[in-house]
Each structure stands twice: as structure tokens, then as C-alpha cells.
């Protein structure tokens, strides 16, 4: 039979690695530029001189509670963004992990 005794230990180490990633997450705030093709209407206006009509219509279709991984009404300096970024990383990991866990628990029945 295959041994699974290491599996728990490996999992624990990987969880520590995840916690380390969450602690380090403000590093991701250093890059301030907008990713290619993710510009807001104002940025497009500046770049091409107009806002495409369809884009204008669909833009802002959905209002997210933690838009851009930040708290509502926060400032745009690095220290002001950091708390919201931490909240986002923690909420995101818990909710994403939770959704995947529940989905896995629901559909996976094999125990061999």
C-alpha cells in the first residue's frame, strides 16, 4: 500500500508557505501600472482619444465589494492600500479555498 504518512506533513508545510505568501502580499502593490487591456475608460480616452461605445456600456456592469483588492474609500498611497490588500488576500484565500473545498467534498466520493 502507498504510504500517506508524509502527506499531512507536506500539507502543513505548504500551508505555512501560503501564510508566508499572504504576509508578503503587499509586494504586489509596488507595481502601480494597469495591466495590458485592463484600462479604465479614462485611460482609454487618453490613449486612443475616445471611449468605445460598447465598452462604455458594459464597463461598471458589476460593483464589487472590495474593488481592486482595496477597502472602499481608501487612499492611493502604499501605506493606505496595505490594510485593504491584506484584508483582500485573507478574505480571498479563505473564500476561494472554502468554495473549492466544499465543491471537492460534494463531488469526490472515492476513498481508496
Amino acid at each position: 500500500m502507498m504510504s500517506f504518512k508524509n502527506m499531512d506533513k507536506t500539507f502543513r508545510v505548504l500551508i505555512y508557505a501560503m501564510i508566508a505568501l499572504v504576509i508578503l502580499v503587499p509586494i504586489g502593490l509596488i507595481a502601480t501600472g494597469t495591466a495590458y487591456g485592463e484600462w479604465g475608460p479614462d485611460e482609454l480616452q487618453q490613449a486612443v482619444g475616445y471611449v468605445p461605445a460598447g465598452l462604455q456600456q458594459l464597463n461598471g456592469l458589476w460593483s464589487a465589494p472590495l474593488q481592486d483588492y482595496g477597502l472602499p474609500g481608501q487612499g492611493d498611497t502604499l501605506p493606505e492600500q496595505t490594510p485593504g490588500y491584506y484584508v483582500s488576500a485573507i478574505v480571498g484565500c479563505v473564500v476561494v479555498g472554502g468554495v473549492a473545498y466544499l465543491l471537492g467534498k460534494t463531488i469526490i466520493k472515492r476513498n481508496d
Partner: protein, 241 residues
């Protein structure tokens, strides 16, 4: 690579949803058929890992930014179909809670990041690693190259989806209604940003993550077969039907 609402016209985003429906269904079926309940925590961890790694934005000279996705590593460890599930979970929450990636573009984003990356990543890894030892350096390099290529191809595909918009969707006078830049701009721009920068991050995390798991718990890897032939477990007697 999270395409926002408004960059893809209805033709493209509806087609991308239609492509994703059978992929999601088969991915769910594959996960049910192939994974075991003890792998569920790894499934959750893989999804959370993808989520957090995408928060590490990397600046690019010229003012743009981007990130790795982490779905090549999940694809190699738990299987590309499992990575469809984990990455789609991460993308769904990013879209709904954080406004990253459009609601209309969710299908396209799940195709690019949740399907292209793990499949290109896994098959590249499989092709290069061949029958080498699970802990061999070749296999670690194969995982890294799989991560690099997976993200590179996905960025080109995303660039293609955006770049065909001026052809597909425009006013009577020819003014683009959605993404205003054409293929000649979007595809090279996406490829240069990714292959120059973010793919290297994907390469490093895929190689490191794979090396750690292969060394310590190769039994987690979905297609791992131990060298020694598995002895039948006689203690349990006749297998239950």
C-alpha cells in the same frame, strides 16, 4: 490577463461561455472520477494558491503590470482538469468580490487562465519529463518550462480574443465598439509582457512547488506511479464489489 467587462463584444464572450460549459462539466466529472477524498484539501489549497499568487503584481518597464497564475503547478500536481476547477473558483471570486475580470468575460478568463495554462503546462511537462525519476532535475525543469509556456500561450490567446474585436464589433463607420486595438497590437503586447516578465515568475513557482511536492509527497501527484509494483493488500481480504 483578467479581461474586464467591455473589452470583448457579445459574440466573443457568449462563444467563450459556450466553450467553457462542456469544459466545466467534464472537469467536474474528471475530478469526481479521478481524485480521492484525501486530495480535497490539496484542491482547496491549489485554488487559494492561485488566488494569492495573482496578487503579486510585477511591474513592467513602460508602465504596465501583470502576474503569474499558478495554474500550471496545480495542473501538473492534481491534473489539468482539476486545475480548471481550482482556477475557475479563484477567477469567480476575483470577479465577484474584487472586480478583477469582467462578469461577461468570465468564460473567456476561465478559458485562458483556467484551461490553456494547465493543459499547455501539463503536456509540456509530460513531454519533456518522459520516464525520468519523479525527483529528477529534468522533471523539475520540465515543470518550470511547462509553467512558462502555459502562461505564454494563454497570454497570446487572450491577446487574440481582444485583438479580433475591432474586426467583429464596430459601428457602421468602422469605429471599434469594444477593445479598440487590433491583433497586430494586442498579441505582441501580451506576449512581450508575459514572456519577458510574468512567465518567469510562473516558471519559478511551478518548478519550486513541483520540486517540493515531488521530493516529499510524490503520492499527491495525480499521475505518479511508484517504481516498485504495488503489492496487493491482503489484510483486507477480498476487495469489496
Amino acid at each position: 490577463m483578467h479581461i474586464p467587462d467591455g473589452y470583448l463584444g457579445p459574440t466573443t464572450f457568449i462563444v467563450m461561455y459556450l466553450i467553457m460549459i462542456p469544459i466545466w462539466l467534464y472537469a467536474g466529472y474528471w475530478v469526481q472520477k479521478s481524485l480521492r477524498s484525501r486530495q480535497v484539501p490539496y484542491l482547496a489549497l491549489g485554488a487559494a494558491f492561485s488566488f494569492v499568487i495573482m496578487m503579486f503584481n510585477v511591474p513592467v518597464p513602460g508602465g504596465s503590470s501583470g502576474h503569474a497564475v499558478g495554474s500550471a503547478l496545480v495542473g501538473i500536481v492534481l491534473g489539468p482538469w482539476a486545475a480548471v476547477v481550482t482556477t475557475s473558483c479563484a477567477l469567480l471570486i476575483q470577479c465577484l468580490i474584487f472586480g478583477d475580470g469582467g462578469v461577461t468575460a468570465f468564460g473567456a478568463n476561465c478559458f485562458n487562465m483556467g484551461t490553456v495554462i494547465p493543459f499547455v503546462g501539463y503536456y509540456t511537462y509530460k513531454l519533456i519529463s518522459g520516464k525520468s525519476e519523479i525527483t529528477s532535475n529534468l522533471r523539475i525543469a520540465a515543470a518550470g518550462i511547462g509553467g512558462y509556456l502555459g502562461l505564454a500561450v494563454a497570454s497570446g490567446v487572450a491577446g487574440f480574443e481582444m485583438g479580433i474585436q475591432p474586426i467583429l464589433e464596430h459601428t457602421a463607420s468602422g469605429t471599434p465598439l469594444y477593445m479598440p486595438y487590433g491583433l497586430n497590437v494586442t498579441v505582441p503586447a501580451m506576449l512581450i509582457d508575459h514572456m519577458g516578465f510574468f512567465c518567469w515568475v510562473e516558471l519559478i513557482i511551478t518548478a519550486l512547488g513541483f520540486a517540493y511536492i515531488a521530493k516529499n509527497s510524490p503520492e499527491v501527484i495525480f499521475d505518479y506511479k511508484p517504481d516498485t509494483a504495488k503489492k496487493p493488500d491482503v489484510s483486507k481480504g477480498v476487495p469489496a464489489l
